[in-house]
């Protein structure tokens, strides 16, 4: 029984870190996509959404190729003494990648609903560009972004395939809730499986309820 709570704690830790990273990168990239026109913008947009449609195992494989001990980035990190494979930090990377598109997509849509005239007004009033982002664009887009962030959190919490491939299933170290469910069922521990499934479902339902409250964007029109 106690292992269930350990798995829940680990899941929350991984999901929170992953959501935080996905939020920072997703908002930045979503903003760039909504404001700057450059060749290949739509192609980049599609590529960034790939984690939503690729099978998690394929994603996990890509990550192994990238950060594995002999991977492009992994070999280099290895020299610095950083090992990501079979660690909870590796699980965070896997969860970040699957959560990222949810934030990015909703952030782009939310920034596109912000009338550029508000940013122009701030510009004429003497506000420096980075300050305009934090004082005008972000607050006006925030509700739409938040809905995406919650979905990203739910997705990160439920992440299974890519996490299993990158971080494995080490109890108390990388065995998250969704992986623990799989292990429990395989081992015939129905009682543990039942508890784990209930906890996971309860977490996801509360996130979805919260997201549903925020999702119907209170569209901030031109005053």
């Amino acid at each position: 029984m106690e292992s269930a709570w350990v798995a829940l704690g680990l899941s929350l830790k991984v999901a929170l870190w992953a959501t935080a990273f996905a939020m920072v990168f997703g908002v930045a990239v979503g903003y760039a996509l909504s404001r700057w026109r450059f060749p290949g913008r739509e192609l980049l947009d599609s590529l960034l959404l790939l984690p939503m449609v690729l099978p998690p195992t394929v994603l996990g494989y890509y990550l192994l190729v990238l950060v594995g001990r002999r991977g492009w980035l992994g070999g280099w990190l290895d020299k610095l003494g950083i090992h990501l494979i079979f660690t909870w930090q590796g699980a965070v990377i896997a969860a970040t990648v699957v959560a990222f598109p949810f934030v990015c997509k909703s952030a782009r849509a939310a920034f596109e609903t912000v009338d550029p005239q508000f940013e122009q007004a701030a510009r004429v009033l003497g506000t420096p560009e980075p300050a305009i982002f934090f004082r005008v664009s972000l607050p006006l887009a925030w509700r739409g972004i938040l809905a995406g962030v919650l979905l990203a959190f739910a997705r990160a919490l439920g992440e299974f395939g890519a996490t299993l491939m990158v971080a494995g299933s080490i109890p108390g170290k990388t065995q998250t809730l969704s992986i623990a469910v799989y292990e429990a069922v395989q081992a015939g521990q129905d009682e543990t499986a039942n508890l784990l499934v209930l906890i996971t479902s309860a977490c996801c339902v509360s996130v979805l309820l919260l997201a549903g409250r925020l999702a119907p964007l209170r569209l901030v029109g031109r005053n």
Partner: protein, 234 residues
């Protein structure tokens, strides 16, 4: 010379082209750019404010170049110290009246707080009779109150000139008459140079010392309230 403009810009793509060639000089503190919608009035105003970058030419205000293609000068809008009244006022919907008015005074990466107090802000709130509304949000204001808030926000940082984009278009006709008079009175009091763009002849009658007619991207200048066309330089 207060205004010295010579602005050229080729806009658009995919077969739909618009050529902006606006040149005028004026010493009027109440200048009206008059013309039908789609003639290039707003683009001209944006070029003055630095929101639109011309391909060639110059924009000078009281002898200072805000933009000069030949000399490679292009001050960002932040450094032009102009105020711009947008057609639908562009009040920040997430900020109260007081926060909106104080927006330009608050440096840094954070908006003025709700209880932010600043002498200049309070002065302008008083002068536009907005004190009672200071804690309201823009969507809780009437058209006239929004315009006064936008004017207060524009004037609080003591701009060198005020640019007004169809300031009365969003108002009903009775209010329009009253606010026209208020604006003319305000201009007299502040003596800040103002450029107003409109497609409404009544605005011209009420406000203009000088009129520049803009049609299909080019300008003709007339002095006083005379709309009689007079060839523009270049």
């Amino acid at each position: 010379m207060i205004w010295d403009l010579d602005v050229h810009k080729l806009m658009g793509s995919n077969g739909h082209r618009f050529r902006l060639d606006i040149a005028f000089r004026s010493d009027s503190r109440r200048l009206v750019l008059f013309g039908p919608s789609g003639a290039g009035k707003s683009l001209t105003l944006q070029a003055i404010a630095g929101l639109l970058r011309p391909d060639a030419g110059h924009v000078r205000l009281e002898g200072q170049a805000l933009f000069d293609a030949d000399r490679g000068i292009d001050l960002p809008p932040q450094q032009r110290r102009l105020a711009y009244l947008f057609q639908d006022y562009a009040l920040f919907p997430h900020l109260t009246v007081r926060q909106n008015v104080g927006f330009g005074l608050a440096g840094g990466w954070r908006n003025p707080r709700r209880h932010f107090r600043h002498e200049m802000v309070e002065r302008w709130l008083r002068s536009f009779e907005l004190e009672a509304l200071a804690d309201r949000y823009p969507d809780q204001l009437s058209g006239g109150q929004r315009q006064r808030t936008a004017l207060a926000r524009a004037l609080v940082s003591e701009p060198r000139a005020l640019l007004l984009d169809e300031p009365f278009a969003a108002l009903d006709s009775q209010l329009r008459r009253r606010l026209r008079a208020e604006l003319a009175e305000l201009q007299q009091r502040l003596s800040t140079p103002m450029v107003l763009i409109t497609h409404d002849e009544a605005d011209v009658q009420a406000f203009a010392d000088e009129v520049v007619c803009i049609d299909a991207g080019s300008a003709t200048q007339a002095v006083g309230n005379e709309l009689a066309a007079q060839a523009a330089p270049a």
